[in-house]
């Protein structure tokens, strides 16, 4: 317990430093945040146009899209803000940049992924709440479920990133595969789940767990159910455990490039 508190204090210290560092360039920070929110608004307009013309996709309407897109954006934003290096973990591994983290007395994975903040993530995170507010499903207890669902969806998403990017321990540079996996996760997460047959749904709960980042959290937010909460909890715990296991297994194979590096 004392160890956990120590790591939590350490994480908070890193996040504070990252945020202060990002805020140092205030204009750039605000441009990124506002730019990302505008970007999301414009992207979502496509779905408004679509549902204005075609009304619904197998019972899935524009209001459902607001919630799904919102929770996905908030979860994505949260991971970008708090664990920005999860997006580039494969590069860090392949280029031997784990040396720096290995030489310090802190959990390697946690320290590595928390060491970068992507400022635009703040825009995604805030936008998600606005999207939920506009969905027509807003209630105060729904908001509490939104926060919980965002945390669990972010856990699944971060775990998925760690899992796919840790393959770099075995296969070296794999920027293309990483971006393919990321794009697949986000694309499948945004589209209505009612589009997919049972085989595709099986993939969306396991191989590319996009359903646990979009459709299932959205279902839980709209109305509480033990089933959707159970799926989310099981998914978050399962994928996180697997991600940590794979990273630690890979770490045994890690070879330092002995390059001189400075982490700033």
């Amino acid at each position: 317990m004392a160890d956990n508190m120590k790591e939590l204090k350490f994480l908070i210290a890193i996040w504070t430093t990252n945020l202060q560092s990002a805020m140092e360039y205030r204009a750039a920070f605000l441009t990124q945040v506002i730019g990302m929110m505008a970007n999301n608004f414009i992207y979502f307009a496509i779905w408004i146009i679509f549902f204005d013309r075609f009304k619904d996709v197998r019972g899935w309407g524009v209001n459902d899209m607001y919630v799904t897109f919102g929770v996905l954006a908030s979860a994505f934003g949260l991971v970008s803000l708090l664990f920005g290096n999860a997006f580039t973990l494969s590069d860090i591994i392949a280029k031997g940049r784990l040396d720096y983290y290995l030489s310090l007395p802190r959990p390697v994975l946690l320290h590595t992924i928390a060491s970068r903040t992507i400022a635009s993530g703040m825009g995604d995170f805030i936008y998600g709440f606005i999207s939920y507010g506009l969905s027509g499903y807003f209630t105060w207890d729904g908001l509490a479920r939104y926060v919980l669902a965002t945390l669990l969806a972010a856990t699944v998403f971060a775990s998925f990133l760690i899992l796919t990017q840790s393959l770099a321990f075995w296969f070296g540079m794999m920027t293309n595969f990483s971006s393919l996996a990321l794009n697949a996760m986000l694309t499948f997460g945004i589209y209505p789940i009612t589009l997919f047959d049972s085989y595709a749904k099986l993939i969306l709960f396991t191989l590319i767990p996009a359903a646990l980042m979009g459709a299932v959290p959205a279902e839980f937010i709209r109305a509480f159910s033990w089933e959707s909460l159970g799926q989310l909890l099981l998914g978050a715990i399962g994928f996180l455990t697997l991600a940590i296991f794979i990273f630690n297994r890979g770490l045994r194979r890690y070879e330092s490039g002995s390059a001189i590096q400075i982490e700033v």
Binding site: A38, I42, Y43, I46, I49, S179, T187, Y191, L195
Partner: protein, 263 residues
């Protein structure tokens, strides 16, 4: 012009230096086309148009339209980001003092990077769509749309270069590139063909340069008529002319604002 042709050739050959990278990047179009197929299959079915057409497009037309739209979009290199990086790391100083025109140099490298990238996207995207809905109704449409596809990349270059030049003032241009991309998604008809839009939005979108860069060539591919060809090409050439002049003016003004970092 010989030196720009040489720059184009060098970049073209360079783009083949890492075939794994090139192929890997192009595979992304496969899940996109598959998910588009799922969405539009359900939508056409719900609209009672399984074998018919919505606003003049069948399911097969829609999928081939989207394949070409994605090919154009995924094929173009991130010019604005490259120019922004050049400004941020100071390497712009070495590019500006070389004996070539900065914009023509950027254009030659952009086209060199685009060709194989787009070809592979078209191959993977085309094979996926062929497997899902069959061959296009007008395979010859690809050749007829080819000038419009090249024009689309010129248009994309003009707009992206202008965004890139804004790095001379603001340094980081990522927010502008995101917004441009999403405007191109909406007004270019990249995820939904413009024909499915409400009439007022169609009229507005078809006039803007985004539609000349995505909708025009893609629709020409599935409806390759002489009349439509003339419409698409004349609007596209008008936009290329206007944006080239604007880009030249912006570049000249931008040079006076540039601050070189390090170098």
């Amino acid at each position: 012009m010989k030196k720009y042709w040489s720059i184009f050739q060098i970049t073209l050959i360079n783009s083949l230096a890492y075939p794994g990278e090139l192929v890997g990047r192009s595979l992304m179009i496969i899940p996109f086309m598959w998910i588009f197929y799922q969405l539009w299959k359900v939508t056409f079915s719900a609209a009672g148009a399984d074998a018919g057409a919505i606003s003049g497009l069948t399911l097969r037309d829609t999928l081939w339209y989207l394949m070409l739209a994605e090919t154009i979009e995924l094929g173009r290199p991130p010019i604005a980001r490259t120019m922004s990086e050049n400004v941020k790391d100071g390497s712009i100083a070495y590019i500006l003092n070389k004996p070539y025109d900065f914009l023509l140099y950027q254009f030659s490298t952009a086209m060199g990077e685009t060709i194989f990238r787009a070809m592979l996207n078209a191959v993977f995207g085309g094979l996926t769509v062929w497997w899902l809905v069959g061959m296009p109704n007008h395979p010859e449409g690809f050749l007829i749309a080819l000038p419009a596809i090249l024009g689309a990349w010129v248009l994309h270059f003009c707009i992206n270069a202008m965004i890139g030049l804004s790095a001379f003032v603001v340094e980081d241009v990522s927010a502008f590139t995101w917004i441009y991309q999403k405007l191109a998604f909406i007004f270019g008809g990249m995820l939904i063909p413009l024909d499915f839009y409400p009439q007022w939005l169609q009229t507005l979108a078809k006039f803007l340069p985004f539609s000349s860069a995505i909708y025009g060539p893609s629709r020409l591919f599935v409806t390759p008529t002489a009349e439509f060809f003339i419409n698409v090409m004349s609007l596209q050439l008008a936009w290329i002319f206007a944006l080239t002049i604007l880009l030249t003016v912006v570049y000249r003004r931008g040079l006076t604002q540039l601050t070189v970092n390090g170098g």
